[in-house]
Symmetry: D3
Amino acid sequence: MKKPSALIISAHAADFVWRAGGAIALHADMGYEVTVVCLSYGERGESAKLWKQDDMTLEQVKQVRRKEAQAAAEALDVHDIQFFDLGDYPLDLNNEARNRLVDVIRSVQPDFMMSHSLWDPYNTDHMNTTRFVLEARMIAQAWGHNPGEKVLGAPQLYLFEPHQTEQMGWKPDTFLDITQVWHKKQAAIECMQGQEHLWHFYTNVAENRGNHFRRNSGGQAGGRNTEYAEGFQSVFPRTVDKL
Amino acid sequence: MKKPSALIISAHAADFVWRAGGAIALHADMGYEVTVVCLSYGERGESAKLWKQDDMTLEQVKQVRRKEAQAAAEALDVHDIQFFDLGDYPLDLNNEARNRLVDVIRSVQPDFMMSHSLWDPYNTDHMNTTRFVLEARMIAQAWGHNPGEKVLGAPQLYLFEPHQTEQMGWKPDTFLDITQVWHKKQAAIECMQGQEHLWHFYTNVAENRGNHFRRNSGGQAGGRNTEYAEGFQSVFPRTVDKL
Amino acid sequence: MKKPSALIISAHAADFVWRAGGAIALHADMGYEVTVVCLSYGERGESAKLWKQDDMTLEQVKQVRRKEAQAAAEALDVHDIQFFDLGDYPLDLNNEARNRLVDVIRSVQPDFMMSHSLWDPYNTDHMNTTRFVLEARMIAQAWGHNPGEKVLGAPQLYLFEPHQTEQMGWKPDTFLDITQVWHKKQAAIECMQGQEHLWHFYTNVAENRGNHFRRNSGGQAGGRNTEYAEGFQSVFPRTVDKL
Amino acid sequence: MKKPSALIISAHAADFVWRAGGAIALHADMGYEVTVVCLSYGERGESAKLWKQDDMTLEQVKQVRRKEAQAAAEALDVHDIQFFDLGDYPLDLNNEARNRLVDVIRSVQPDFMMSHSLWDPYNTDHMNTTRFVLEARMIAQAWGHNPGEKVLGAPQLYLFEPHQTEQMGWKPDTFLDITQVWHKKQAAIECMQGQEHLWHFYTNVAENRGNHFRRNSGGQAGGRNTEYAEGFQSVFPRTVDKL
Amino acid sequence: MKKPSALIISAHAADFVWRAGGAIALHADMGYEVTVVCLSYGERGESAKLWKQDDMTLEQVKQVRRKEAQAAAEALDVHDIQFFDLGDYPLDLNNEARNRLVDVIRSVQPDFMMSHSLWDPYNTDHMNTTRFVLEARMIAQAWGHNPGEKVLGAPQLYLFEPHQTEQMGWKPDTFLDITQVWHKKQAAIECMQGQEHLWHFYTNVAENRGNHFRRNSGGQAGGRNTEYAEGFQSVFPRTVDKL
Amino acid sequence: MKKPSALIISAHAADFVWRAGGAIALHADMGYEVTVVCLSYGERGESAKLWKQDDMTLEQVKQVRRKEAQAAAEALDVHDIQFFDLGDYPLDLNNEARNRLVDVIRSVQPDFMMSHSLWDPYNTDHMNTTRFVLEARMIAQAWGHNPGEKVLGAPQLYLFEPHQTEQMGWKPDTFLDITQVWHKKQAAIECMQGQEHLWHFYTNVAENRGNHFRRNSGGQAGGRNTEYAEGFQSVFPRTVDKL
């Protein structure tokens, strides 16, 4: 029988770590096969530290970033990580890449998907990725696309936390307790040697989302004693049997 | 051990029937004790049919509406229905009423609460009720309000479906399958003799929300075969262990 | 047979002139009986020029402002102008005033109503007025309010143009050509001796809304040659037989 | 003299039927020449029922869908229906197609246009179509595009009703009474053999929009006795001589 | 000559510390006279730790909270702190209190004002305070309110950071570098013995806003080396001589 | 030492004049080197008057428009004006043009940038330009784009005033006093011979924004006596040392 699965689409190599590392590790622990697609290595736009070194080449940056991402994926018990190598700043989101993503979606048949916020004036790669993911999700649901393949159902698309939430118009509707896998997320974060300036930032985020979890689960009147959490925004409504 | 419970705050006597009847009956079936508070009977503003009769008095209208609401509550297996009799069009949402609602909230200790949309230019009673409920929820969480009483945790506040969703800025994030209790909701609807013109309307709503449930649970690729559903908008984020 | 009618609710004595003077004069020309309700004289908050004079009293300011408003109303062919004298900055929007407004609404049975924008951080009197008007409209529609009176239908509520449209979140969906009555609006504007600094401002507004009218009616490819216009935002959807 | 005309741009073959069939038939009755442009047949994404049959080919699906759309157009008294055959899921909205649409717009010189909602996370074809239509409308207004041709004025662009209005951020500002042509819309709907699961859904929509029409035209105090209606959102402000 | 001044309106005793402590200390350093108005002590709703002690009374809680707030104000070099003692959960925002606030505003003649977010479904005291402040600001600008007094100009109203920014729809447009006064804010925070669970949370907030400051001032390409910052949302547009 | 600088990106040749002429002249006066990039001449879509002349060709229109724009730039003391000649209605915003813009941004190293509103249903060129500018800004910040070049910091992107502000969802947060350079803006406006119908319109806009400046700087209680102003919306938060 098919295991539960999840698919995370990350514009640049490190996004899945900061923004969804806890969700990945937690669901891997629960038996989910989590696939991560990195559309680029963030080689041009998110590797300043490397570029400040002498004689650096694009190929070298990509290799370093790939290794870091693979190490982080391992720390998070990712089932499969794929690098689309589309270039970054800007991403080249062409038709071939889109069909490749549709193939991955259909192959993974995810119970949920994850990607970036809908708006990001600092980083158009992020918002373009989400639009690209919505398009691929739609195609994967089309009975006439590669007829005979298993058609995609209607998995939720969660938008993970951007760097400046309010500027991106991102509003979390779901907080996930990641306390028990925090050590894994921390280990994954520390794989990202090129962005050490963000380690403390995202630790603070996790702690403060822990506070929000406690407050929203009851606060001092029975709230959960969560230490670390992640927040997500849902694109689609949930379908439930119980409120 | 305390049974699970829910608290529905309805501006007028019939609102809980059209908008949350399925959720009430379904959770009652699951063992929830559901309490309904009707802030008014809708005696002035939502009883046109009665007022068209000769020699009608306010007291008579209130009695008829009360009986209808009680019959509907019974059909839905409501645990307790309370009438605050605050007058309608407009509701008189005074301090005494607020404290009374706080008492009910603390007594019920609901796992979730329900009320109207945040905005309603047609019916200010509806949006004023929701503001009033938010205020009462806040007071019920205050350790210094009636010290010694059990303080409220952080129950979700669901906003049930208004009459013209788009005009009210209401966006459902949760669809609940009410197929198995539809016969009870239908029976409750038919208790509302004074608003027969709405029976068919809300049957259509339930069928079309059933369609939305099917679509969002997978559509033709594995979606649930739901016939009737209700939609709700959440005010607060959820706290979960699994996405 | 009843003439067509309109009801304008103005927080302060001059608001109806700047913001709806053209609509009033134009519909008066078409045979509408236009009633204006001024909730206050704007005696405290919108009469700076008068207060700079020596020995001015509140009563004197109110008298001057009343005369100006009456003269403006006459210039616009207003059918009836009523002063509720509720005080301003802030308005005292009490229950008695609300019932008085409901009586006016039921008596006028307006084909359309008009009031302020929904949000105004500069002037809470404005946004409180609109909320008050929505409440009164709702009560006027209630069959159980003063049973036997003619119940209100569902007249549109137009929101007229505030002083800083973008800050108030006001978006016009309707432009009205007031070219043929501009001379009346101009005459009415010039009745407002206490706010001469606004005459030129609102002339500019009328000219630029004329430009928007031209553009939206076809521009250089068949647009109307409108010189002066007013803009309005509708609260409720229209019901039509033709698009 | 030129007859009045309208132009409906439909992403997939059936959209114009569910969403604007009543408006089309009604205006045809009034003497409008209504042109429908179907950008695709919906052959891949909206033909699940056909693809479940054995040995189906893309060409066959397109033929079936084309026939259904033509039959529906006939039932609605459409003046002209054009199939751009751009492929679907996703639409290939290329420059050539855009110029072709500009040609149609200039040729039809529509009194109003219609297309999809501005946002649709379920179906990017829909929102991409609207953006494409806005672009084509702009080009058709350019005096330097094919100089000498008759330049477009400023027709309204109405957005017709999407499948899940609240998720698409669609808010109707106009309800059209389609009672007298409902039988034609029903006949057109029944031409869409491949999407029988939507017949009942859109009948419910039409009935409930009829209720909204009644309510917004006066409700129990003089409202129109409308049985079926359609709702539309306007992109541009109206220019009028009377409110 | 009058010193520059600022006025902070805090719903409960501790709000000004968490949310604006840095801005207060920094401007005090620059010679501003900063006045803080605490509308309540937060005695019922934000003193859970105290209420868990035996034999606690409302009066005792208020005294403890008052002392903490005074100590914090001293640590921040506040010029004047006033306690309106209006009660909390809910605040009693009556006319007398409003006039008292108007008096303070006119007396302080602040160069800028500060208060809470416009929306807060968790804590209606917060949003009611902001509405109350907007009303008082409007009255303070009225030439006819206590004629002869110096009338208020148009100071900015900054909204300080709420506890869950995204849920409150709060979006900062201004980041203030508070690195040089961080030790004062920290000292003030540690005066709030009753809310020790929030110390770490707001330290994280200050650090992460420091990161946002660095990023928005140039990031790795010349950004300021800010360690701690606070964010604010402006209600009104700025008027400047240079962009 | 490098002079301060600004970069204005204008979709069509005249946009920078109407919408930012005052800001340009004022900052030039203060010693800024202001560069203007015109992505097109507006030759097809904004040159109706020219196209109404006999025997006009695209090349001629472009020449006339170029001369007008150059004359306007001179009147405003623009340091450098560049014409990308990408065609208009629609703009062809290809990769080569984007890299060219990135080169300009890196070369100018602007203290602030300016472009169009984020939304414009009348003119997709405008909103596409802003998206294009955000993308180019992001690339200019990438250390791996043309390594060795000076990387861009984080200049503000101001959105200048569109033609119908409310329809474009544009909200100014900054008003700039341009009284002292108004004569230069007026002279520049009068260079635009092909759009004489807009001269008066934008003079009215400048006067009314002057009124908004006065009001927001203190009104009758100490407000600045500004006669002409321009409004701008900021995309990014400001980083400051003083509120």
